[in-house]
Amino acid sequence: MRDGITPCVLLFAAFGLALAFAPRSAWLPSLGALLSTLAAPSIVSSGRGWLDAAFLGCWISVIIIAGTVQLFRKLPSWAALLLSIDAGAWASAVTSLTGSRLQVLAVSPCVLIVWPAVCVTRRYGPIPIRVASSWLIAIAALSGFLQFLPVTPGYLPDHLE
Protein backbone atom coordinates (compact mmCIF):
# COMPACT_ATOMS: atom_id res chain seq x y z
CA MET A 1 0.00 0.00 0.00
CA ARG A 2 1.35 3.38 -0.99
CA ASP A 3 1.53 6.20 1.48
CA GLY A 4 -1.29 8.64 0.74
CA ILE A 5 -0.21 11.27 3.21
CA THR A 6 3.04 12.48 1.56
CA PRO A 7 1.27 13.66 -1.62
CA CYS A 8 -1.27 15.49 0.53
CA VAL A 9 1.49 17.23 2.50
CA LEU A 10 3.09 18.42 -0.74
CA LEU A 11 -0.29 19.39 -2.21
CA PHE A 12 -1.26 21.45 0.84
CA ALA A 13 2.20 23.05 1.02
CA ALA A 14 1.98 24.02 -2.66
CA PHE A 15 -1.49 25.43 -2.11
CA GLY A 16 -0.28 27.39 0.94
CA LEU A 17 2.54 28.92 -1.11
CA ALA A 18 0.12 29.81 -3.93
CA LEU A 19 -2.33 31.35 -1.47
CA ALA A 20 0.39 33.70 -0.28
CA PHE A 21 0.06 35.47 -3.64
CA ALA A 22 -3.75 35.72 -3.44
CA PRO A 23 -5.61 38.66 -1.86
CA ARG A 24 -6.29 38.28 1.87
CA SER A 25 -10.03 38.38 1.16
CA ALA A 26 -9.64 35.12 -0.79
CA TRP A 27 -8.00 33.20 2.05
CA LEU A 28 -11.04 32.29 4.12
CA PRO A 29 -13.29 31.20 1.21
CA SER A 30 -10.42 29.17 -0.25
CA LEU A 31 -9.59 27.44 3.04
CA GLY A 32 -13.31 26.81 3.56
CA ALA A 33 -13.60 25.32 0.08
CA LEU A 34 -10.54 23.13 0.71
CA LEU A 35 -11.92 21.76 3.97
CA SER A 36 -15.39 21.25 2.47
CA THR A 37 -13.96 19.31 -0.47
CA LEU A 38 -11.87 17.22 1.91
CA ALA A 39 -14.91 16.44 4.04
CA ALA A 40 -17.14 15.60 1.08
CA PRO A 41 -17.35 11.93 0.10
CA SER A 42 -14.81 11.00 -2.53
CA ILE A 43 -16.20 10.31 -5.97
CA VAL A 44 -13.64 7.60 -6.75
CA SER A 45 -14.15 3.94 -6.02
CA SER A 46 -11.52 1.43 -4.97
CA GLY A 47 -9.26 -0.36 -7.42
CA ARG A 48 -5.70 -0.36 -8.67
CA GLY A 49 -6.53 1.76 -11.72
CA TRP A 50 -8.21 4.43 -9.62
CA LEU A 51 -5.30 4.45 -7.16
CA ASP A 52 -2.75 5.12 -9.92
CA ALA A 53 -4.99 7.78 -11.45
CA ALA A 54 -5.54 9.48 -8.09
CA PHE A 55 -1.79 9.59 -7.35
CA LEU A 56 -1.02 10.90 -10.83
CA GLY A 57 -3.75 13.54 -10.50
CA CYS A 58 -2.31 14.54 -7.16
CA TRP A 59 1.21 14.98 -8.59
CA ILE A 60 -0.11 16.93 -11.59
CA SER A 61 -2.06 19.16 -9.20
CA VAL A 62 1.08 19.84 -7.14
CA ILE A 63 2.85 20.85 -10.37
CA ILE A 64 -0.03 23.10 -11.49
CA ILE A 65 -0.53 24.74 -8.08
CA ALA A 66 3.22 25.29 -7.52
CA GLY A 67 3.42 26.45 -11.16
CA THR A 68 1.01 29.30 -10.43
CA VAL A 69 3.58 30.63 -7.95
CA GLN A 70 6.06 30.85 -10.81
CA LEU A 71 3.59 32.38 -13.26
CA PHE A 72 1.42 34.81 -11.28
CA ARG A 73 2.59 37.95 -9.53
CA LYS A 74 -0.89 38.19 -7.95
CA LEU A 75 -3.17 35.16 -7.84
CA PRO A 76 -6.80 36.14 -8.62
CA SER A 77 -9.39 35.19 -5.98
CA TRP A 78 -11.27 32.95 -8.40
CA ALA A 79 -8.06 31.05 -9.20
CA ALA A 80 -7.33 30.56 -5.48
CA LEU A 81 -10.82 29.14 -5.04
CA LEU A 82 -10.43 26.79 -8.01
CA LEU A 83 -7.04 25.59 -6.77
CA SER A 84 -8.44 24.93 -3.28
CA ILE A 85 -11.21 22.72 -4.73
CA ASP A 86 -8.67 20.94 -6.92
CA ALA A 87 -6.31 20.32 -3.97
CA GLY A 88 -9.13 19.13 -1.74
CA ALA A 89 -10.58 16.80 -4.39
CA TRP A 90 -7.27 15.06 -5.15
CA ALA A 91 -6.27 14.83 -1.48
CA SER A 92 -9.67 13.36 -0.72
CA ALA A 93 -9.36 10.85 -3.57
CA VAL A 94 -5.85 9.69 -2.60
CA THR A 95 -6.61 9.36 1.09
CA SER A 96 -9.90 7.56 0.46
CA LEU A 97 -8.15 4.97 -1.69
CA THR A 98 -5.21 4.48 0.68
CA GLY A 99 -7.41 4.31 3.77
CA SER A 100 -5.88 7.37 5.39
CA ARG A 101 -8.95 9.62 5.27
CA LEU A 102 -8.71 10.72 8.89
CA GLN A 103 -4.94 11.27 8.79
CA VAL A 104 -5.40 13.91 6.09
CA LEU A 105 -6.92 16.19 8.73
CA ALA A 106 -3.70 15.96 10.71
CA VAL A 107 -1.63 17.21 7.75
CA SER A 108 -4.13 19.82 6.53
CA PRO A 109 -2.44 22.51 8.71
CA CYS A 110 0.40 22.36 6.14
CA VAL A 111 -1.70 24.97 4.30
CA LEU A 112 -0.79 27.38 7.09
CA ILE A 113 2.63 27.69 5.45
CA VAL A 114 0.81 30.67 3.85
CA TRP A 115 1.70 32.86 6.87
CA PRO A 116 5.47 32.33 6.85
CA ALA A 117 5.31 32.58 3.04
CA VAL A 118 3.64 36.00 3.27
CA CYS A 119 6.23 37.16 5.84
CA VAL A 120 9.12 35.96 3.65
CA THR A 121 7.58 37.61 0.56
CA ARG A 122 7.18 40.92 2.41
CA ARG A 123 10.77 40.88 3.61
CA TYR A 124 12.68 39.32 0.70
CA GLY A 125 10.26 39.48 -2.22
CA PRO A 126 8.74 36.49 -4.08
CA ILE A 127 12.06 34.80 -5.03
CA PRO A 128 12.46 32.45 -1.99
CA ILE A 129 8.86 31.25 -2.33
CA ARG A 130 9.33 30.70 -6.07
CA VAL A 131 12.48 28.68 -5.40
CA ALA A 132 10.65 26.60 -2.76
CA SER A 133 7.75 25.99 -5.15
CA SER A 134 10.20 24.82 -7.82
CA TRP A 135 11.38 22.16 -5.34
CA LEU A 136 7.78 20.98 -4.94
CA ILE A 137 7.45 20.81 -8.74
CA ALA A 138 10.66 18.73 -8.91
CA ILE A 139 9.47 16.30 -6.20
CA ALA A 140 6.05 15.92 -7.83
CA ALA A 141 7.56 15.37 -11.29
CA LEU A 142 9.96 12.72 -9.92
CA SER A 143 7.17 10.97 -8.05
CA GLY A 144 5.05 11.05 -11.20
CA PHE A 145 7.90 9.40 -13.15
CA LEU A 146 8.22 6.71 -10.48
CA GLN A 147 4.65 5.69 -11.09
CA PHE A 148 5.50 4.52 -14.59
CA LEU A 149 8.37 2.28 -13.48
CA PRO A 150 7.76 -1.34 -12.54
CA VAL A 151 10.59 -1.05 -9.98
CA THR A 152 12.81 1.86 -9.08
CA PRO A 153 16.36 1.14 -10.16
CA GLY A 154 17.97 1.18 -6.72
CA TYR A 155 19.34 -2.32 -7.20
CA LEU A 156 21.87 -0.86 -9.63
CA PRO A 157 25.27 0.08 -8.21
CA ASP A 158 25.66 3.55 -6.72
CA HIS A 159 27.49 5.98 -9.02
CA LEU A 160 30.17 6.28 -6.33
CA GLU A 161 30.69 2.51 -6.14
Binding site: R2, D3, T6, P7, L10, Q70, I127, R130, V131, A132, S134, W135, I137, A138, I139, A141, L142, S143, F145, L146, L149, V151, T152, P153, G154, Y155, L156, D158, H159, L160
Partner: protein, 196 residues
Protein backbone atom coordinates in the same frame (compact mmCIF):
# COMPACT_ATOMS: atom_id res chain seq x y z
CA UNK B 1 4.35 -8.28 37.58
CA UNK B 2 6.79 -6.52 39.88
CA UNK B 3 8.06 -3.03 39.13
CA UNK B 4 11.58 -4.42 38.62
CA UNK B 5 10.34 -6.77 35.90
CA UNK B 6 8.37 -3.99 34.21
CA UNK B 7 11.46 -1.74 34.24
CA UNK B 8 13.66 -4.56 32.94
CA UNK B 9 11.16 -5.22 30.15
CA UNK B 10 11.00 -1.54 29.23
CA UNK B 11 14.82 -1.37 29.32
CA UNK B 12 15.08 -4.29 26.91
CA UNK B 13 12.45 -2.76 24.62
CA UNK B 14 14.18 0.62 24.42
CA UNK B 15 17.68 -0.84 24.15
CA UNK B 16 16.75 -3.13 21.27
CA UNK B 17 17.95 -2.02 17.86
CA UNK B 18 15.91 -2.48 14.69
CA UNK B 19 15.94 -5.93 13.12
CA UNK B 20 18.19 -5.89 10.09
CA UNK B 21 17.09 -9.03 8.30
CA UNK B 22 15.25 -8.68 4.98
CA UNK B 23 16.03 -5.00 4.53
CA UNK B 24 15.01 -5.17 0.87
CA UNK B 25 17.10 -4.54 -2.16
CA UNK B 26 19.15 -1.52 -3.11
CA UNK B 27 19.83 1.60 -1.09
CA UNK B 28 17.89 2.28 2.07
CA UNK B 29 14.83 4.32 1.18
CA UNK B 30 13.00 7.09 2.97
CA UNK B 31 13.25 10.79 3.64
CA UNK B 32 16.44 10.75 5.72
CA UNK B 33 18.33 8.58 3.22
CA UNK B 34 17.23 10.89 0.39
CA UNK B 35 18.19 14.00 2.33
CA UNK B 36 21.62 12.64 3.20
CA UNK B 37 22.39 11.39 -0.31
CA UNK B 38 23.44 14.70 -1.96
CA UNK B 39 25.42 15.57 1.18
CA UNK B 40 27.33 12.29 1.10
CA UNK B 41 28.76 12.71 -2.41
CA UNK B 42 31.36 15.50 -2.41
CA UNK B 43 31.08 16.00 -6.19
CA UNK B 44 27.32 16.62 -6.02
CA UNK B 45 27.65 18.75 -2.92
CA UNK B 46 30.25 21.06 -4.52
CA UNK B 47 28.38 21.32 -7.83
CA UNK B 48 25.11 22.25 -6.14
CA UNK B 49 26.74 24.83 -3.92
CA UNK B 50 28.58 26.18 -6.97
CA UNK B 51 25.27 26.66 -8.83
CA UNK B 52 23.96 28.84 -6.00
CA UNK B 53 27.26 30.72 -5.66
CA UNK B 54 27.54 31.43 -9.38
CA UNK B 55 23.91 32.55 -9.57
CA UNK B 56 24.48 34.93 -6.65
CA UNK B 57 27.57 36.45 -8.25
CA UNK B 58 25.67 36.92 -11.54
CA UNK B 59 22.78 38.58 -9.66
CA UNK B 60 19.22 38.98 -11.02
CA UNK B 61 17.54 37.13 -12.59
CA UNK B 62 20.14 34.34 -12.47
CA UNK B 63 20.35 34.39 -8.66
CA UNK B 64 17.03 32.54 -8.65
CA UNK B 65 16.77 31.25 -12.23
CA UNK B 66 19.78 28.93 -11.85
CA UNK B 67 18.61 27.30 -8.57
CA UNK B 68 15.13 26.85 -10.11
CA UNK B 69 16.49 25.53 -13.40
CA UNK B 70 18.93 23.02 -11.88
CA UNK B 71 16.35 20.86 -10.01
CA UNK B 72 14.00 21.06 -13.01
CA UNK B 73 16.66 19.70 -15.36
CA UNK B 74 17.76 17.25 -12.66
CA UNK B 75 14.27 15.78 -12.79
CA UNK B 76 14.62 15.40 -16.58
CA UNK B 77 17.97 13.65 -16.03
CA UNK B 78 16.51 11.50 -13.26
CA UNK B 79 13.72 10.47 -15.63
CA UNK B 80 16.30 9.46 -18.24
CA UNK B 81 18.23 7.53 -15.56
CA UNK B 82 15.14 5.77 -14.26
CA UNK B 83 14.09 4.68 -17.73
CA UNK B 84 17.70 3.59 -18.45
CA UNK B 85 18.18 6.02 -21.34
CA UNK B 86 21.96 6.01 -21.84
CA UNK B 87 23.89 9.24 -21.35
CA UNK B 88 27.56 9.49 -22.37
CA UNK B 89 30.05 9.21 -19.43
CA UNK B 90 27.90 10.56 -16.61
CA UNK B 91 30.82 10.57 -14.16
CA UNK B 92 32.89 12.74 -16.48
CA UNK B 93 29.91 15.07 -16.92
CA UNK B 94 29.56 15.43 -13.15
CA UNK B 95 33.31 16.07 -12.72
CA UNK B 96 33.21 18.64 -15.52
CA UNK B 97 30.28 20.38 -13.83
CA UNK B 98 32.36 20.89 -10.67
CA UNK B 99 35.38 22.03 -12.71
CA UNK B 100 33.40 24.38 -14.99
CA UNK B 101 31.26 25.97 -12.30
CA UNK B 102 34.29 26.41 -10.00
CA UNK B 103 36.21 28.06 -12.85
CA UNK B 104 33.28 30.37 -13.65
CA UNK B 105 33.17 31.52 -10.01
CA UNK B 106 36.96 31.82 -9.70
CA UNK B 107 37.31 33.90 -12.88
CA UNK B 108 34.05 35.81 -12.21
CA UNK B 109 32.82 34.87 -15.69
CA UNK B 110 29.58 36.69 -16.56
CA UNK B 111 28.08 35.04 -19.64
CA UNK B 112 24.72 35.99 -21.23
CA UNK B 113 21.72 34.59 -19.38
CA UNK B 114 20.97 31.87 -21.93
CA UNK B 115 24.55 30.52 -21.85
CA UNK B 116 24.55 30.38 -18.02
CA UNK B 117 21.18 28.57 -18.16
CA UNK B 118 22.49 26.16 -20.81
CA UNK B 119 25.61 25.30 -18.79
CA UNK B 120 23.68 24.71 -15.57
CA UNK B 121 20.87 22.88 -17.37
CA UNK B 122 23.18 20.40 -19.10
CA UNK B 123 25.02 19.65 -15.87
CA UNK B 124 21.68 19.33 -14.06
CA UNK B 125 20.74 16.52 -16.46
CA UNK B 126 23.98 14.63 -15.66
CA UNK B 127 23.49 14.98 -11.89
CA UNK B 128 19.84 13.97 -12.22
CA UNK B 129 20.77 10.90 -14.25
CA UNK B 130 23.14 9.71 -11.51
CA UNK B 131 20.51 10.29 -8.81
CA UNK B 132 17.71 8.77 -10.87
CA UNK B 133 19.65 5.53 -11.30
CA UNK B 134 20.16 5.35 -7.54
CA UNK B 135 16.56 5.79 -6.42
CA UNK B 136 15.85 2.98 -4.00
CA UNK B 137 13.75 0.07 -5.06
CA UNK B 138 12.96 -0.68 -1.44
CA UNK B 139 11.09 1.38 1.15
CA UNK B 140 9.70 4.75 0.09
CA UNK B 141 11.08 6.32 -3.11
CA UNK B 142 8.65 9.28 -2.93
CA UNK B 143 9.94 10.44 0.46
CA UNK B 144 13.48 9.67 -0.74
CA UNK B 145 12.88 12.02 -3.72
CA UNK B 146 11.47 14.69 -1.41
CA UNK B 147 14.52 14.41 0.86
CA UNK B 148 17.06 14.70 -1.89
CA UNK B 149 15.32 17.57 -3.70
CA UNK B 150 15.13 19.48 -0.41
CA UNK B 151 18.81 18.81 0.36
CA UNK B 152 19.74 19.91 -3.16
CA UNK B 153 17.75 23.11 -2.72
CA UNK B 154 19.32 23.85 0.63
CA UNK B 155 22.78 23.38 -0.91
CA UNK B 156 21.83 25.97 -3.54
CA UNK B 157 20.71 28.31 -0.77
CA UNK B 158 24.03 27.77 1.06
CA UNK B 159 25.82 28.60 -2.20
CA UNK B 160 23.70 31.75 -2.63
CA UNK B 161 24.61 32.85 0.90
CA UNK B 162 28.34 32.41 0.18
CA UNK B 163 27.97 34.04 -3.26
CA UNK B 164 26.13 37.00 -1.76
CA UNK B 165 29.27 37.86 0.21
CA UNK B 166 30.56 39.51 -2.95
CA UNK B 167 28.68 42.67 -1.96
CA UNK B 168 30.84 42.98 1.19
CA UNK B 169 34.47 44.02 1.55
CA UNK B 170 36.76 41.03 0.87
CA UNK B 171 33.63 39.03 -0.02
CA UNK B 172 34.45 38.88 -3.72
CA UNK B 173 37.96 37.56 -2.96
CA UNK B 174 36.48 34.99 -0.60
CA UNK B 175 33.88 33.83 -3.14
CA UNK B 176 36.52 33.60 -5.88
CA UNK B 177 38.80 31.64 -3.53
CA UNK B 178 35.96 29.17 -2.96
CA UNK B 179 35.65 28.97 -6.74
CA UNK B 180 39.34 28.08 -7.04
CA UNK B 181 38.98 25.32 -4.43
CA UNK B 182 35.88 23.95 -6.20
CA UNK B 183 37.69 24.00 -9.57
CA UNK B 184 40.72 22.17 -8.08
CA UNK B 185 38.35 19.54 -6.64
CA UNK B 186 36.76 19.32 -10.09
CA UNK B 187 40.15 18.51 -11.62
CA UNK B 188 40.52 15.72 -9.05
CA UNK B 189 37.07 14.31 -9.86
CA UNK B 190 37.80 14.58 -13.58
CA UNK B 191 41.08 12.65 -13.30
CA UNK B 192 39.41 10.02 -11.11
CA UNK B 193 36.56 9.65 -13.63
CA UNK B 194 39.02 9.25 -16.54
CA UNK B 195 41.20 6.71 -14.70
CA UNK B 196 38.18 4.70 -13.47
Amino acid sequence: MSITRVLALLGILFAAGPASAHTGTGLPGGWTAGFMHPLAGFDHLLAMMAVGMWGATLERPLIYVLPVLFPALMVVGAGLGMFSVPLPRVEIGIALSVLTLGTCIALAIQPPIWIACLIVGVFGVFHGDAHGKELPSAADPIRYSAGFVLATGLLHVAGIVVGSLTTRPLGATMARSFGVLIAISGIGFFLRAIIA
